[in-house]
């Protein structure tokens, strides 16, 4: 016999789904079908091994009075700090019907299906979810640049042929911090067409613009535009919110040299965390000033080399070209700086070890997708002919927000 709220659970769903219908139709045998036992404890509701605190349960109520069916948002955010559950009324597969001491009767979700969207919403695979939240346990740190998974090139036409293939590419990218795509359209500006096909927008406009073209310049305004060796680095660390997903598209790469390479900072930092924990801590604590102040620009900020999210390494910033050493000498005493330099040089020794890097001479139509918060990129020196002979090296760059790529990975239709 379905309760009125269980009927609601069926009626309020907008998309076709059998999930809630099963929940309601099974309500007559809910108590016996639900293998987990549920009990009311002094601190809250114990559902199997999961304890939900009293006031948490009230915030989690999914009844139509508390949770918007069209918005998937709570309809009010009152102070429930003193509230207590008084009665467990009925169990369903996805909900527990509860009464609280404010008189309210509602529905506490028991699983993802119940929690996210009135019991009908499809939830993304846990692997995709964990990758998109940058959980280290889902990522693969790498210190050997020759691993086949790192050097694998996805075929562009195959990738865009299905939604699943795009998701697999993005999941691979999030797992390794790097993904290579071959056979994309290779004219200048085609990168935006490729990104439109992948549906990862909108895109991130920096002061370089929406699409930045990297090609050799005399007297460049940025080191990337000369022909010298570019040490491994992350881009734009001086931004408070540094660009995360970095699309590097090869239009032409006809000059001698100029191989691209990538190195996993998380792998190096993981090693330091285990073997040299004091050094790791220094890199997580000391805020390094960065500054970029060429003509028409002046951006600056101070950030640690590695930022944590709980126990997870979350984001790294490392670009020696724009470290503001002068500001650094003002911000920290010599002893702290000395410790930092020791730790930083230890890290750099790993980052400049060629065995750790993936090295590729990109071909026209190749696209590298890089996690700019984790994987550093660099370039070998290339030769600019004294007399122009038509050969060129042209790369296009676009940055995209991590959340937009996440959205592409997790979304459903």
């Amino acid at each position: 016999m379905a309760s009125s709220l269980a009927k609601w659970a069926l009626n309020t769903t907008r998309a076709t789904s059998n999930v809630c219908a099963r929940a309601v139709s099974s309500s007559a045998r809910a108590l016996s079908s639900s293998a987990r036992s549920v009990s009311l404890e002094s601190e809250g509701i114990l559902d199997g091994n999961n304890l939900i605190l009293h006031h948490e349960s009230r915030y989690l109520c999914r009844c139509p009075g508390c949770f918007g069916a069209t918005s998937n948002q709570p309809l009010h955010t009152d102070d429930f700090s003193a509230i207590k559950v008084t009665e467990i009324k009925e169990l369903h597969d996805h909900y527990i019907e509860l009464q609280w001491d404010d008189g309210h009767v509602g529905m506490l979700p028991r699983n993802e299906t119940g929690a996210y969207g009135n019991g009908y919403k499809q939830t993304p695979p846990q692997r995709f979810y964990d990758l998109s939240l940058r959980k280290n346990k889902a990522q693969t740190f790498w210190s050997d640049g020759t691993l086949p998974e790192l050097n694998k090139k996805f075929d562009y036409e195959e990738v865009i042929s299905s939604d699943e293939n795009v998701k697999e590419l993005l999941a691979h990218y999030m797992q390794y911090g790097l993904a290579l795509l071959a056979n994309t359209p290779n004219q200048p500006g085609d990168l935006l067409k490729v990104l439109d096909k992948l549906e990862v927008g909108p895109y991130w406009k920096t002061l370089f613009g929406l699409l930045s073209r990297v090609s050799y310049q005399n007297d460049p305004l940025n080191q990337a535009f000369n022909n010298q060796h570019l040490a491994a680095h992350t881009d734009m660390p001086y931004y408070t919110q540094t660009p995360s997903v970095y699309f590097f598209h090869c239009v032409a790469n006809e000059l001698e040299g100029g191989e691209s390479f990538w190195v996993d900072t998380f792998s190096a930092l993981h090693h330091m965390r285990t073997e040299m924990p004091e050094m790791f801590e220094i890199l997580a604590e000391v805020k390094v000033p960065f500054r970029q102040y060429r003509v028409g620009w002046h951006m600056a900020g101070s950030y640690p080399t590695i930022e944590m999210m709980g126990d997870d390494m979350y984001r790294t910033r490392d670009c020696n070209f724009v470290i503001d050493n002068f500001q650094f000498t003002k911000d920290y005493d010599p002893a702290t700086r000395a410790c930092w330099w020791e730790a930083y040089n230890y890290l750099r020794a790993m980052m400049t070890n060629p065995d750790r890097s993936v090295q590729v001479k990109l071909q026209s139509g190749d696209l590298a997708i890089i996690d700019n918060w984790r994987v550093q990129h660099g370039r070998n020196q290339f030769t600019v002919p004294e007399v122009a002979d038509g050969a060129k090296r042209v790369m296009d760059v676009v940055y995209v927000e991590w959340s937009h790529v996440q959205n592409r990975l997790l979304r459903y239709h």
């Binding site: 948002q73 955010t77 102040y293 002046h298």
Partner: protein
């Protein structure tokens, strides 16, 4: 070989130049300032090591293991240094030497700390105790000069809120920011840019209803939450619907002083947000801490109770951690009461809100009779582009003063 650059008038300050400079076991001692061997080499400003065009080092990587051999000429702004890798160069002794001559130094002195969110530069406030919160700036005044634009941006950064009024109706918010203020480019999100906020039946977001909106920061489910929230009023004739704003940094300063354990919980416990309204195809989620510190400074607050993913928290965090966090969060929330600055925005208003510090919200409203229209639009700016507008001094190039060896 050290290349000589354009000669500038010398303003020789004997008091600086005669600071004792000598090589030590650790590096260089310049008066009270101590520089390490390794950092001096990375600070070299000679043409071989530093590009005055890009203001970036030309070194292929951090130079480690190199030691200073000797210090040569000492001027007001530079030292000539020789290192044991054979390189001879120069390092800056002053900000002017490091970043260029005037007006750079004045600008940096006035605005740098504000733009990097040093808390001691900010003006914390509760309600309308602080007059500055309620100050309004006419659009025409703000864009009338470079200095008045800087003054407005500095005011906004200091208070976390800045109100511009009498913005012409035909002037799109994007043009105000990108063209008139030269503080773009702006931030694109999954919403339109700008996104109109008007009443919508069966809205996928309760911003589009007529209900009260509790104080919150926008888009907390973004891994990188938009920094500057731009709220433009086109029409507002409805009954009620006052907007309000609350300074979370002021509330957290109290929490930090009274309950450091609660403050620690808010800065270290990772929670998460999830946003996936039906029918939109959107799915965004992110872990975060309610309060982010940068050293001792509060850098960012994320506060949007309606989008917090309590379910995920209840699965991932131990009970004791959650219990402590909720106690801390509710204690902080109690500090927000009676702390709002409130007003009814009018057509032509454009309110700049620091979305990582100041909550915004709205009281409920009614549309009745002739008083039935309320149309706002929302867009987002980038903090560093505003910073650039404040710190950049225009077309003057950075150049290194001539550093003579043989005088």
């Amino acid at each position: 070989m050290l290349r000589v650059l354009p000669i500038l008038p010398r303003k020789f300050s004997p008091s600086i130049a005669v600071r004792l400079v000598h090589v030590t076991e650790y590096g260089i001692k310049d008066g009270l300032q101590e520089l390490l061997h390794v950092e001096t080499r990375n600070m070299c400003r000679c043409e071989e090591c530093f590009s005055t065009l890009s203001t970036q080092k030309l070194l292929t990587d951090a130079k480690k293991g190199v030691r200073v051999s000797s210090v040569g000429r000492v001027t007001e702004h530079y030292l000539t240094v020789k290192w044991d890798d054979g390189h001879e160069g120069m390092i800056a002794r002053t900000s002017r030497g490091a970043y260029g001559p005037q007006p750079v130094q004045d600008i940096l002195d006035k605005y740098y700390n504000l733009t990097v969110r040093r808390n001691n530069e900010l003006q914390l406030w509760r309600g309308e105790e602080e007059e500055g919160v309620a100050m309004q700036f006419k659009y025409s005044d703000v864009i009338s000069s470079d200095q008045s634009t800087r003054d407005f941006i500095a005011h906004f950064m200091k208070y976390g809120i800045g109100t511009m009024t009498e913005v012409p109706a035909e002037r799109n918010t994007l043009d105000v920011i990108n063209v008139d203020m030269e503080a773009g480019p702006m931030r694109e999100t999954i919403y339109k840019n700008p996104d109109p906020v008007a009443f919508i039946a069966d809205a996928h977001n309760f911003a589009y209803t007529s209900d009260a909106l509790p104080g919150h920061t926008d888009l907390p489910y973004y891994t990188q939450m938009p920094q500057i929230f731009l709220f433009r009023c086109h029409i507002n004739t409805v009954i009620g619907g006052s907007s309000f704003w609350i300074d979370t940094f002021a509330a957290l300063a109290e929490v930090r002083a009274e309950r450091p354990d609660y403050f620690a919980s808010l800065t270290t416990t990772p929670i998460s947000c999830r946003y996936s309204p039906p029918g939109t195809g959107w799915y965004l989620a992110t872990p975060y801490t309610a309060v982010v510190l940068m050293g001792d400074d509060i850098l960012e607050v994320r506060d949007h109770l309606a989008l917090m993913d309590e379910f995920e928290m209840s699965r991932r965090l131990p009970r004791e951690t959650r219990s402590k966090w909720w106690d801390a969060f509710l204690y902080y929330q109690s500090k927000l009461e009676q702390a709002a600055y409130k007003r009814i925005v009018k057509a032509g208003d454009l309110v700049f809100v620091d979305n990582r510090r100041v909550l915004h919200g709205r009281e409920s409203f009614k549309a009745e009779g002739e008083r039935k229209e309320r149309l706002m639009d929302v867009s987002y700016g980038d903090w560093n582009h505003f910073q650039r507008r404040l710190l950049d001094t225009g077309p003057e190039k950075l150049f290194i003063e001539r550093h003579l060896h043989n005088e």
